[in-house]
Amino acid sequence: MSNRRTFTDLLLWTVLAFVLGLVVCFSFLPLMGINPFTAAATMFGGVFADVYTMGNILVKMTPLILTGLAFAFTFKANLYNIGAQGQFYVGCTCAVSVSLALGGRMPGWIVMILAMLASVAGGAVIGFLIGYLKAKFNANEFLVSMMSTYVITYIMQLLLRTVLQESKHEYIKTNKLDKSVWLPKILPGTSVTLGIVISLAAAVIVWFILYKTTLGFRIRVTGQNMDAARLSGINPKKEFMTAFAISGAIAGLAGFVEVNGLQHMLLTGLDSDVGSYGIGIAIMASAHPIGVIFSSLLFGILQVGGTVLSHSTDAPASIIDLMLGFVMLFVLISFYFRRKVELARMKKKTAGEE
């Protein structure tokens, strides 16, 4: 019973926080001469107006689920992988390199599997390196992963400007991928590709690893009580490296689904927020892998809604960040009040039993 109650609580508080966040954000719109009520109507009307736009929610969700999972996974080990953005870029670069080199020369699905493996491996290597620095040199993983993003971004820019640049050498981006290596679309009338299936599957697999395998158990124990873990024969340093490598692999996979699924090329500054949104998504879901799916849905709706809003009214595209920021803020605040209400209820219950 208590489990169901906690879940209902979580849902109610999150919805409340969501609504409050939007209300505060929309209350700024009159400054731009936009009526907030019409804006809200335009936004939600627009998002659910046609199948194509609704499909876009799933498209936006696809990489976000993965970066959310990446943060959630290390969070369970009480580690902070703030560098999902960088691992995502490594995944993008690996996927695009493999796809460009082999696309059209081999059957598409073989190339796609290779590209997927490459992006996962690329992300995992970066993740492992961060975990290695943490384990061997006791480097602050938070700082190192944060900095790695900037280093990787610059290296990606360098590659895009040199070896990966498109044949005309005009723009800082790659050639378009061969059609045979595009992830197939799965819903007619939308841009939704097989990528969303990969993301959803990843969420289920991460849930399975974390809660149904000894590996996941070891990682969670390390996160909850490192001394207890050490006493029961778990080597925390090994778990740091494993957790970070898996986290990096998931973020790298996000690069594959984005490049082969949606963009079909790589350009600088691609999805430059996907990493930090992932952190927000993981936190809204209390780092639960299945919850990540639903909070990604929420972020997806807001992103698509913001795009609709900025196209049909004078509102700037920055409204998206403003909405996401306020919603995240209120969700975090709601955590505090939810906990408080829960504690009060527990107190009452124990008092009643006496």
């Binding site: 040199f137 700082l143 936190i283 803020l329 505090y336």
Partner: protein
Amino acid sequence: MQNIINLLTRAIFMSTPLILGALGEVIAERTGMMMCAVEGIFLTGAWAGFAGCYLSGNMAVGFLAALICGMLVAMLYGFCTIYLTQHQIVMGTAVAILMTGFCTFFYRVVFGIPTSPLKIETLPVLKIPGLCRIPVIGQVLFSQNIITYITWLIVPVVFYVIYKTAAGLTIRSCGENPEAVEVAGINVRRIRFLAVMVGGCFGGVAGAYYSLCNVGMYNSEIISGRGWIAFGICFLGNWNPVGALLFGILFGISEAVGIYIKAVGGSGIPSELFSALPYMLVIVLTALRKQFNVPAKLGATYVKED
């Protein structure tokens, strides 16, 4: 030779906001509060400084606006992390996303869509009479802007306050053993909140340095991770104001070298690698250092027993 002098002058110039941001970070982190909102605070400072200066035509107003806005953001961060006991790193990310949207949105509200980028005159160089005539040192150290001089003056002040005063002892104790501070009748949460506020003021001014002193305009990429570098400098400088100064200068040099190489060109080494230099430096230096004097309760939320 002149090239090297110019390079060093530039390095000192670029180190100022990093030192300032790191000093704010030192004060906050000594009380046990990681200021993960620092990137958002820098950005807000850059925005507020630009808006204040552009609208009033006065540099001082710009810096004051940046200071106040930086403080307000820090207060929001402090309120949620200290009083509502939310997670510091997570809250920092939320603040960063929120302020990115907020600054871009309000730039649009205030300035509309300008046909050409709005520019202001950058803060002029203030040569210190007499001292500026000393060869080499005169140009490198004493031909800077006023914010740089103020920053140098703040370093010993922060050092003195943290290590030599009763207030400093309280600040450090909040980070090492908050329970003991509470027993002594001091409100730990208030101390932490105040420290975060002060840190926010420093961060706001540091952010404004980029828009008002460095480029004379505002865009959303103006900070691009410099806040996090200041955060890293605080770590590398061992939570010590003097350490913050030294590492601030080191990162100033690495930034100046990058700018110099890009301007000169022809070195054969791609400019992107130089842009990535400061970030790589943080990674290498954090990995190399064996011993850190981390405040014991850094990042841990203090929950008062009742």
